[in-house]
Amino acid sequence: MTQTRTPNGFDLDRSGRRIVVDPVTRIEGHMRCEVNVDDNNIIRNAVSTGTMWRGLEVILKGRDPRDAWAFVERICGVCTGCHALASVRAVENALDIRIPRNAHLIREMMAKVLQWHDHVVHFYHLHALDWVNPVNALRADPRATSRLQQLTGPNHPLSSPGYFRDVQNRLKTFIESGQLGLFKNGYWDNPAYKLSPEADLMATAHYLEALDLQKEIVKVHTVFGGKNPHPNYMVGGVPCAINIDGDLAAGAPLNMERLNFVRARMEEAFAFSQNVYLPDVIAIASFYKDWLHGGGLAGSNVMDYGDYSKVNYDKSTDQLKGGAIVGGNWDEVHEVDPTDPEQIQEFVAHSWYRYADESKGLHPWDGETEHHYELGQATVGTRTHIRELDESAKYSWIKSPRWRGHAMEVGPLARYILNYAQGNEFVIDQVDSSLAAFNQLAGTRLTPRQALPSTIGRTLARALEAHYCASMMLDDWHELVANIRAGDLATANIEKWDPASWPSEARGVGIVAAPRGMNGHWIRIKDGKIENYQCIVPTTWNGSPRDAEGNIGAFEASLLGTPMERPDEPVEILRTLHSFDPCLACSTHVMSEDGEELSRVTVR
């Protein structure tokens, strides 16, 4: 059967030409994507596959729960802090350890710095190349670029014709030296690129500025986490003593000088996301006003656990509110409880794992990770050289998590839809004002409900969230200083550090609003050791294969209906997949034997 309608309402047709992109480049980890296009090159079927086994859960078994953060921090190169934080929160939840207010505020700042950094790096270094053509920037007129800068980002000081001429010359030297390295993934003559040369030059200049700035903000992690690039975390608080009037010689790392340094870095970040990042996204989007593809599941089902509480352990104070929206009904937001076995379940009907009964899902506390690699009968190729997957059988190393049986999209866009729907004033103001700016530039009259569920909406939400994080982290900073000034110097609660003080069995969950979406770690502790550890990371939700019922996940849904300019140059597929910032969480090098960066694309 080549034509089907999924239970979650998407029409699939696998009769047309099959296009295989493997690997999907500029993402974390290993991913493959196959689509079928019709005679007009419109995508009618999509299959997304996580191609790497990730055995983290099993290697933690039997280890000391207080050490788990150090292992999960090494899962991948970009999610270090959000896994470490989820891990210590899971252990604290299991053992009922309450951390001091200072520790909460310091962790919040570290999480928001990570979020800001990750969003900026993702946009300028990985995603912008789906929209921006740096080679085309060589044709730009620096004076016109200066005028464009003053129109779209008037508060950014670097806007003179001379500045843009210098950037253009640097870029020219770089490209002429044959070191296209950073830009060699491109399909630079594809008509899918719509920017003017001036917009390309402006965005390229900001790419360089972002490279320079991103390394400043992460110094906050060095101050609070003791070191970078792998900051320290600690069950019970933060490993960071406070001696506000002391100097470093006194042996306390956190004094007023360090705190002022932190504030200065945060203020730089705030200014950049306000004056550069957000205006860039709006300006670039205005060239793509006719390209509102990629909404997929975001138009119906979105979800987050909620995070960034003003008062720790009080979910009602979450500054990014959680919940679930189903069927596109923004007027009804359902409560989400990650501890409820009826709500969160993982299915493996189409994943390379084995359950006793694969029609049922398992809650992560009862999760199993037993691999079972087998391919369906319609697979073309061999076990080690698959030319075409059979999506009617098992086809991915990613499981299929579902909320009350529904496939859900997670991530900044999901959070922004949830918070817009729930009346978060900061978010409503951001969405409305940025959309007004977009409509003015593009000459359109799009509403949030029209614009947000799209690839561009996903990219916009990430920029808005980065700036929201910059704003919140400055609030946290002021609260921390006030709390310290009031005499509270506690940064850790070590009452239950000794495993002798723990119950013989305990279980907990740790959740974090990670850059790519909600991240959850579930732990079971027995006799002081890890008995079971399961992570459901954001890309597990978004990249999930079909479930037992046949519901497709967010990546797959987002590609349907998108026209491709040239099927052998998957610009549009990469653009939409990148808008999720996929992270297939495994830093390994085994994928490519010859260092080839460009995706292998096969059309048949």
Partner: protein, 264 residues
């Protein structure tokens, strides 16, 4: 190097000794383990920074930009026999490092170097000490003995290279605490001491990627023997036969996982 630079010989040197790789992936962690051992054995003068870079990609940019001499230690797939050490210098380095993906969204370390150069970084010296890994895709595994045995030699090479850059390392009077670079839980002894057996925690990779790994010769042979036919044909095998041929790759680990596929 494409861009004009401020660095010149009149500037004080600032040396970065950078170990990169993922300690959770067997020999892939070699670079980190080597700098960890270097740090334990030697005092370094103030102008030298020894850094566990993990798989941090662009997070490493500030450290790289700040140095005038860079010594990288890493597991590199040179296509040489396992545990072979190979040193490359200066302009040769990026092409070798491009052959593998480092973490940050598949940013290769080559791209991190390119980004640093685009921002104007031009090192006086750049050296890569690489060791050919034996096994990479063993999640939760540790260095293979043959590869681990190269740490002393690599440290010696590093000391000599730094000597050529006019830096002398003094052996520590007492071996430093293991946890000096990474979190104590990840220090090699602790990591291995608490490691579950591969029977408890099977560490197999996806067959399609196992075959591309550095030990491809073994695997390709195995693969050809067990999987000579197209998929459609193999579906006609008896269930028991197809179980062993389809279900999973042969376990590579010699420490206790001797079956094919599946979990105990």
């Amino acid at each position: 190097m494409p861009l004009a630079m401020d660095n010149n010989d009149s500037q004080a040197s600032s040396i970065l000794v950078l170990g990169i790789g993922n300690v959770l992936w067997a020999d892939e962690g070699f670079g980190v383990r080597a700098v960890e051992a270097l740090h334990r054995r030697f005092d370094v003068p103030p102008q030298v920074t020894v850094l566990d870079g993990g798989t941090q990609g662009l997070y490493l940019l500030p450290y790289i930009q700040a140095c005038s001499e860079l010594l990288v230690i890493d597991a590199i797939d040179y296509g040489l026999p396992p545990a072979t050490i190979h040193v490359v210098r200066d302009d040769e380095v990026p092409s070798f490092m491009g052959a593998k993906k480092m973490s940050l969204h598949q940013t290769g370390f080559q791209e991190v170097l390119a980004a640093a150069q685009l921002l104007g970084w031009q090192p006086r010296h750049l050296t890569l000490i690489g060791v050919q890994p034996q096994v990479i895709d063993d999640y939760g595994g540790s260095l293979r003995p043959e590869v681990a045995a190269r740490i002393d030699e690599v440290i010696q090479l590093a000391v000599e290279e730094l000597g050529a850059w006019k830096v002398t390392l003094r052996p520590r009077e007492a071996i430093a605490d293991q946890g000096g670079l990474a979190a104590p839980a990840l220090a090699l002894d602790h990591y291995e001491g608490q490691r579950p057996s591969s029977r408890d925690a099977c560490r197999l990779g996806d067959a399609r990627f196992l075959v591309q790994a550095s030990h491809a010769e073994t695997l390709t042979d195995t693969d050809n023997e067990t999987d000579p036919s197209p998929m459609a044909e193999r579906q006609h095998h008896q269930p028991s036969a197809s179980r062993s041929s389809i279900q999973g790759p042969t376990c590579l680990d010699t420490t206790g996982c001797s079956r094919e596929g599946g979990s105990p």
